[in-house]
Symmetry: C2
Subunit: 280 residues, 2 copies
């Protein structure tokens, strides 16, 4: 497998790169970004994954996320995958919340989605293997994961399904219970079919109810987020964590909305929180 360098830019003492490769899992070219902080030759750095929300590509957080200064201070590599397969051959939907830009980090089982929409396997397996091969300084024995909205859902569910792989899991305004909100019900029924039992591996609250565990979670949500009540439902995550004994730090941030102005405000906090756990 080869990897193509789309761009590299020096930033905050490190290198912000954008890369493209032919994904065997999605059957498409896939683009992702990696920030590698300045580091001593031969040093190996922990990795923080960031999964993006609806309509986004790798570019949104790369341009607007304000993570590089904090990653440089913490010595943490930051990786941002795309949110779906792309290309003319990939089936799509007119809606912003299904199809391209809205892969929901699932392996689809329903046609016409099943062939390309395999973002779970892409993010969990193929991309980490590629990183291991291509980025010698990335220490995959020390990984954390975070994300925003649909990507917060992705971070929570991937973290809960793989507690041995991720030392730290956080989220910004995650879709906390896809089984119980319009975005989730639409996406999971579309990609996985009507049997709601098949959806449970893709719902943080259901995973916790089914016995999956992480030690702790950090979640920030803006109390002026327009999606708070109908789509995000952090109170369901709080309840699930309380019942399961998971140490959830849920911060309702006053006046903040769902935008990158919210994310960038608390990004340095999250990077430092992950950094402490990844370097402990």
């Amino acid at each position: 497998m080869t990897i193509e360098t789309v761009s590299t830019n020096r930033a905050h003492g490190g290198v912000q790169g954008v890369y493209r490769h032919a994904s065997a899992v999605t059957g498409t070219p896939m683009t992702f970004s990696v920030f590698v902080p300045d580091h001593a030759e031969g040093a190996r750095l922990p990795v923080l994954w960031y999964l993006s929300g609806l309509t986004c590509t790798h570019a949104n957080v790369t341009e607007k996320g304000e993570y590089r200064q904090a990653c440089a201070e913490q010595g943490v590599i930051f990786i941002a995958p795309d949110t779906s397969p792309r290309g003319e051959d990939v089936p799509d939907d007119d809606a912003y919340d299904f199809g391209k830009g809205a892969g929901f980090y699932v392996d689809a089982t329903q046609e016409p989605w099943a062939t390309h929409y395999r973002m779970r396997s892409y993010v969990e397996d193929e991309l980490p293997a590629l990183i291991l091969r291509e980025f010698a300084m990335a220490d995959l024995s020390r990984q954390g994961i975070t994300g925003h909205s649909m990507g917060g859902h992705g971070a929570l569910t991937i973290g809960l399904r793989n507690p041995d792989r991720f030392r730290s899991v956080s989220a910004f305004a995650p879709i906390a219970a896809p089984l119980h909100c319009p975005w989730g019900e639409k996406a999971l029924s579309g990609y996985l079919g009507d049997n709601r039992e098949d959806w449970r591996p893709y719902d943080a609250c259901a995973l916790i109810a089914d016995g999956n565990r992480v030690a702790e979670l950090l979640v920030d949500v803006g109390d002026a987020d327009p999606f708070l009540t109908d789509q995000l439902k952090p109170e369901l995550l709080a309840e699930a964590c309380r019942e399961a004994g998971i140490d959830l730090t849920l911060r309702m941030q006053p006046g903040y909305d769902h935008s990158y102005y919210f994310i960038s405000t608390f990004m340095a906090d999250h990077v430092a929180w992950h950094g402490r756990r990844l370097k402990a």
Copy 2:
């Protein structure tokens, strides 16, 4: 004069706003952004102006500039105007470096540009007067100015022409001598005509040679900037400052290019540098 609020978002404890108004100077609607940090009621905060480069609007730095954390720490308001008049009635040019997005902070004298392309008067006079009226917390007795590339040229020339108005002047990769580079010669001849004497108020080095003075300047330039040799020519600014006794701090940043990855890396430095001078 009325001002329309396009958007406001809570960010880094303050408010990032985007506003539109009908400019009497340009004869068009003009859009600009303002970040107001959290502050005590009745407090008045110094103002840092940021002028953007070719092809940009207010949005580029607002999304990618990474200034809000530093402005919140320093208690400095950050204002980003557009780079030219906009609209269907405004004459344009197919090139990226002339016409819309390329106002060069001049008052044009040549047709068809003279009617709308009056960015000098807009940035020097009309917009500050609007800010004074509409933003009660803005203390215009304490102003600093900075900018990038064409906007660095704008910051240097506006600062040099108005030393009593601006306590602090800095720039990122400025066009240091428009009389002696292709971007400058094209823009100034197009907007001002062929008499190069008329260009001198719009050239930092010529202004210094003609006796304009500021106490000090801070300038960062990437040594991997592809425009360094042909367009930016910081060595001409260094020579002009040396001859005039202006305390120029010119930092050639190794490996950095002309992008917002460069700007955002050193933005916090510039905001803190201005903050110290604006609050002294």
